[in-house]
């Protein structure tokens, strides 16, 4: 437990509790505000996190008054398409749980199947244990968790990792929180094949796809962070780009947009380099024009070479 946790334990049992004051002093308000500010869209997710935070706050108050002893089950599953902000939200969740004193350190360890499952007999258990040791006191984020389970191969070592995970999720509830993430439909299949997980995971949070206008807002924010901005025509082009890109394979929401913007910056640099005569000012260096975006293959009907990377979103 953190510093305030120790105070909590030594103090006498309070007769009343002021939730609003707790809300402010625990730093939960700060994290939720941050969430609202930094994440565009994702309303249902924010709603669920607010609910979870409220639940945990009340639970903490109840524990202070000695009304409950048990640590609530905090393991979660995040399901949604790639690029919908699952990792970002997991990071915030780790911060939230830390502020509330449910995890001691509040760091996030993000892993995929490769980090947990070994390649030969006897390799999996130490590998999984290593990851778990690293994640103790924090949050273990398992991306694309359904890859752990391969029903087509009964000798797959994934099963071993699953067993160790289940055991730790049950026995070390005070020590770490496991968040499993992945596509909605495959997660459902994964949970129905592994009922142990379903019963140990209390919070299922679904991440919806971003709407077109939200994606545009996100790209604006991404560019602003790097001191770039879109000209009016470029914005219209990007709007069109988003609609087209969505219809093409391997669309990964915000991540596709980030890749598209990276390429637009590349083209902008190239355009400036080849066409500029004379000195350039800051505005020219930071403006992305419509031509930078319209040069994308997406407008020529596809052949998308830039697939989203499979891990981390």
């Amino acid at each position: 437990m953190g510093a305030d946790g120790d105070v909590m334990e030594t103090a006498a049992v309070p007769a009343t509790v002021d939730l609003a004051a707790e809300y402010q002093s625990s730093g939960v308000a700060e994290i939720l505000d941050e969430l609202d500010r930094e994440l565009i869209g994702l309303e249902p997710v924010k709603e669920r996190i607010r609910e979870t935070a409220a639940l945990l706050l009340v639970d903490r108050a109840r524990r202070q008054m000695g009304l409950s002893q048990e640590t609530p089950t905090l393991h979660m599953s995040f399901s949604g398409n790639p690029g919908t902000g699952k990792t970002t939200v997991a990071l915030k969740m780790a911060g939230l749980l830390h502020r509330l004193g449910y995890v001691r350190k509040g760091h996030l360890v993000s892993v995929t199947r490769d980090d947990l499952v070994g390649q030969y007999i006897g390799h999996t258990a130490p590998k999984t244990k290593d990851v778990l040791k690293k994640a103790m006191g924090g949050v273990l984020f398992i991306d694309e968790a359904y890859y752990l389970y391969r029903p087509d191969n009964e000798r797959d070592y994934g099963q071993e990792a699953i067993e160790i995970l289940l055991q730790v999720m049950e026995n070390n509830r005070d020590d770490l929180v496991v968040i499993m993430a992945g596509y909605a439909d495959r997660m459902d299949k994964f949970f129905s094949a592994n009922p142990g997980f379903r019963s140990r995971i209390a919070h299922h949070i679904e991440f919806p796809d971003y709407r077109d206008d939200e994606l545009l807002e996100i790209s604006r924010q991404m560019l602003a962070d790097q001191n770039y901005h879109l000209s009016a025509e470029a914005e219209a082009a990007l709007d069109e780009y988003i609609a087209l890109r969505r219809g093409q394979p391997h669309f990964a929401n915000a991540r596709s947009l980030r890749n598209a913007l990276d390429r637009a910056r590349l083209r902008q640099a190239n355009r400036l380099f080849t066409s500029a005569s004379g000195p350039l000012d800051a505005v020219a260096l930071s403006t992305i024009e419509a031509s930078d975006i319209r040069a994308s293959r997406v407008f020529k009907g596809g052949l998308d070479v830039d697939r989203p990377t499979p891990q981390g979103d």
């Binding site: 130490p126 244990k129 690293k134 103790m136 006191g137 070390n172 020590d175 770490l176």
Partner: protein, 129 residues
């Protein structure tokens, strides 16, 4: 005979909460935790058997405690110690080491006479069980 080696060995044995607190202190200093065991507590037996790798990327003492529990399950009747290694350039050495597990009946050290070159005799310490 109670073996005294490393930190805290003149104190009563540490319980798990105290060990956790010590490991937490080590982690705060960014030292790597290693667990070692042996059945030979002779002071000249510097290198004990390693239990797994030293843990360089722990954030919380619980990770080390899990390993310690596993080690106790297998080597409960041996000496187990926790080493805290600092990897800072120029130090690169164990900063802290303390015994966390002892056998129920500790062996004693006894002095024996041994023959040496030219009929000389020397005295040496041996672990007697």
């Amino acid at each position: 005979m109670r073996i005294t080696q490393g930190c805290f060995s003149f104190l009563p044995d540490l319980d798990d909460a105290q060990i956790t607190a010590q490991v937490e202190y080590c982690l705060q200093n960014e030292w790597a935790i290693g667990i070692e065991y042996t059945d030979d507590p002779h002071p000249r037996n510097t290198y004990w058997e390693m239990w797994g790798h030293p843990m360089f990327d722990l954030r919380d003492a619980k990770g080390a405690m899990m390993e310690l529990d596993d080690c106790r399950k297998v080597h409960g009747d041996k000496y187990i110690r926790i080493n805290a290694f600092e990897d800072e350039r120029g130090i690169e050495s164990v900063q802290m080491s303390f015994i966390v597990n002892r056998p129920k009946d500790e062996p004693s050290l006894k002095m024996t006479r041994v023959d040496y070159v030219d009929r000389a005799q020397k005295y040496a310490w041996d672990v007697a069980r």
